[in-house]
């Protein structure tokens, strides 16, 4: 096996088109060890990026290397890489134990080593007891864990995890997150994708925001947050008396623009101080006796994507759109496991 010639994951001008549909476009990244989260809405190109890294799809243009190795060198690459894909599917008829041991055998380990490593991996993801059951009968969380176990079994240096927390209950999430931390502390690359930033920002060293196939921001999470705070946000408020609401808002608030929605049942407005706006809107609704149907970010543009992805608890929108913000923010202050322990 070739030794890793570099310690980073590099993507140089990587693009992927599915026919005329853009997957990702001109991605340049240099990812260092630690936990890196790729965050973006559904369909933004996260899975495409990860599949490109693993060689499951080929780039239309550009070049990518993981620790100096290209996806065309699977014998070397996949001894270093463990990929937990988003596909919720498994080889037919296998038990959890067979699933991990079979694919470990493909690495060339001796049967005794395969057995030992399989048991270690099963224990790590808490699946020892269910290991002899067929995967087809597992719950969603168990399937997710056995996939993680398979990706971790050969002790890779790079872990690529596509939506790894999907389907896990809060306790399992905390434990899996602890597992990621453990790997990262050992100097591994842990690459996690998620469409919910709060899910991963408490553990990430870096974040890459992706939207419509473009990398829209990357860096440490605090820097990305600050960048977003500066931008105006478009909000949609639906109510029974939009004209009266618009007049009341204009009289009291510093919004930059208000438009009546074309169906006459709501308004669009822009504000630089969204958190203040939501606070004042609550007071205004009570004072004016208005009935609101819904409210939330309405932009389809990049700022809205930023806002959606990094919206913090102080925005006030958490009441409606981001119901688990409070937990995430508390978790921000400590590690996931402890915070969730307090929750319990």
């Amino acid at each position: 096996m070739k030794a890793a010639t570099t310690q980073t994951i590099q993507l140089e001008n990587v693009s992927k088109f599915y026919g005329e549909v853009l997957g990702v476009n001109r991605v340049d990244l240099d990812i260092e060890p630690g936990i890196t989260s790729i965050v973006g809405p559904n369909g933004s190109g996260k899975t495409t990026l990860m599949n490109l890294l693993a060689g499951l799809i080929r780039p239309t243009q550009g070049r990518l290397r993981i620790l100096g190795l290209e996806p065309s060198q699977p014998e070397d690459l996949f001894r270093l890489v463990g990929y937990c894909t988003q596909f919720d599917s498994f080889p037919r008829g296998m038990t959890g134990r067979q699933f991990i041991s079979s694919f470990l055998s493909l690495h060339g380990y001796a049967p005794a080593d395969v057995k030992r490593m399989t048991e270690e991996s099963l224990e790590r993801v808490g699946m020892t007891e269910a290991a002899n059951r067929r995967i087809a009968g597992y719950s969603k969380g168990m399937r997710q864990r056995i996939k993680l176990g398979q990706a971790l079994a050969h002790d890779p240096q790079v872990l690529v995890l596509d939506e790894p927390l999907n389907g896990l209950d809060p306790m399992a999430r905390a434990e899996i997150i602890g597992l990621f931390r453990e790997q990262a502390e050992r100097g591994l690359h842990v690459l996690i994708s998620s469409h919910i930033l709060h899910e991963v920002d408490m553990i990430s060293d870096r974040v890459i925001l992706i939207s419509h196939g473009y990398i829209v921001a990357e860096g440490e999470i605090q820097g990305v947050r600050e960048e977003v705070q500066e931008r105006p946000m478009q909000i949609m408020v639906r109510c029974s008396e939009p004209r009266r609401l618009a007049r009341a808002i204009l009289a009291r608030d510093s919004v930059t623009e208000i438009q009546l929605h074309k169906d006459g049942a709501g308004i669009h407005l822009r504000t630089r101080d969204s958190s203040g706006f939501f606070d004042r809107l609550a007071e205004l609704v009570v004072e004016e006796g208005l009935e609101l149907e819904s409210m939330g970010p309405a932009d389809d543009n990049m700022q809205a994507v930023y806002r959606y992805l990094v919206a913090d608890d102080s925005s006030g929108s958490g009441d409606i759109e981001f119901s688990d913000d409070s937990m995430a923010d508390r978790a921000d202050s400590g590690d996931g496991g402890d915070t969730l322990g307090e929750e319990d």
Binding site: M1, Y18, N51, A54, G55, L56, I57, R58, P74, E75, D76, L77, F78, R79, V81, Y83, T85, F87, S89, F90, P91, R92, G93, M94, Q98, S102, F103, S105, L106, H107, G108, Y109, D113, R116, M117, E120, S121, E123, R124, V125, G126, M127, R145, Q150, L152, H154, D155, A172, E175, G178, L179, E182
Partner: protein, 292 residues
């Protein structure tokens, strides 16, 4: 689950792992083991065994059931061997082996794509051409076990009405032994030839039925083809090795079958060529399950 209590992973260093041929052989064996477990040990395998054993049932029938008048079905061993030749060419070769190869080999890759599990192989330290060979060996192992097994057992079932001593005599000193080996060899070569074709069809086409039906038509109408075109059919190479050929009817374009050695080499070269193409196809294969 407890991350705190879980033991630290103690993987082996890469230097301790095999590479090159030792690794490839181990990988091929692993893939074969996975496929054998999936195909031959599940509940569905009962149906596969049932279909593969149809010729055995037919031969058992010939042993147990006499003609309506009560006379034995075969007057002598030569008659019995001729009857087996007909059963082999009609039922085993053109029916069970052909459709069995379509089902097993076209499913080797397409089945993994439909089960959405091919990516597990592609995310292993496994070269894609090695995966092609491993899958082909899987298909061959399964079909050889089933179809060579069924051919040999069916052939042996021509002997019970004639007794053990006649059977031993015919198998070891008469034409029986040679014919049995020839039929087993034919089944083996048919699996190689048809298997390679249907494996690549399963890689190329989302729905390999239409091309498989075209191959069936081509093979079935082979007797009408001009000599040049006969050469690009699997049955052409197999025909020369059949111990007791059947008449192809008055409309057949008769040509001399190729010599046995040439038939074997021709089929093997053909299969290696197809596998090479399959190796190239899978190098460019992308995982896009949503399309399937």
């Amino acid at each position: 689950m407890s991350t705190a209590q879980a033991p630290a992973p103690a993987s082996l260093s890469s230097a301790q792992l095999p590479s090159g041929w030792p690794l490839w052989v181990r990988q091929v064996l692993t893939v074969v083991r996975i496929d054998l477990r999936k195909t031959l040990l599940g509940r569905r395998s009962l149906l596969i065994y049932a279909i593969a054993s149809l010729p055995i049932v037919v031969m058992l029938f010939t042993v147990l059931v006499k003609r309506p008048g009560g006379e034995a079905l075969f007057a002598n061993l030569a008659d019995a061997r001729r009857a087996f030749a007909m059963i082999f060419q009609t039922l085993i070769l053109r029916g069970i082996i052909f459709f069995g190869c379509v089902a097993f080999f076209s499913n080797l890759f397409r089945g993994e794509v439909l089960d959405r599990s091919l990516h597990y192989y592609l995310l292993s330290p496994l070269r894609r051409p090695v995966l092609v060979i491993a899958k082909f060996v899987s298909g061959l192992t399964i079909t050889w076990v089933l179809f060579m097994g069924t051919t040999v057992i069916s052939f042996l079932l021509i002997y019970p009405p004639f007794g053990v001593s006649r059977a031993i005599e015919d198998l070891f000193n008469g034409p029986g032994g040679g014919q049995m080996l020839a039929y087993a060899g034919l089944a083996m070569l048919a699996c190689i030839g048809y298997g390679s074709v249907f494996m690549i069809l399963g890689l190329w086409f989302k729905n390999p039925v239409v091309p498989a039906a075209a191959v069936f038509g081509w093979e079935a109408l082979h007797f009408l083809l001009p000599p040049m075109l006969k050469r690009i059919s699997v049955i052409h190479y197999l025909k020369g090795m059949i111990p007791i050929p059947m008449s192809e009817g008055p409309f057949a374009v008769v040509t001399d079958p190729p010599p046995v050695f040439l038939s074997i080499v021709g089929l093997l070269i053909f299969s290696v060529a197809v596998l090479t193409i399959a190796g190239l196809v899978i190098q460019r294969f992308e995982i896009k399950y949503a399309d399937d």
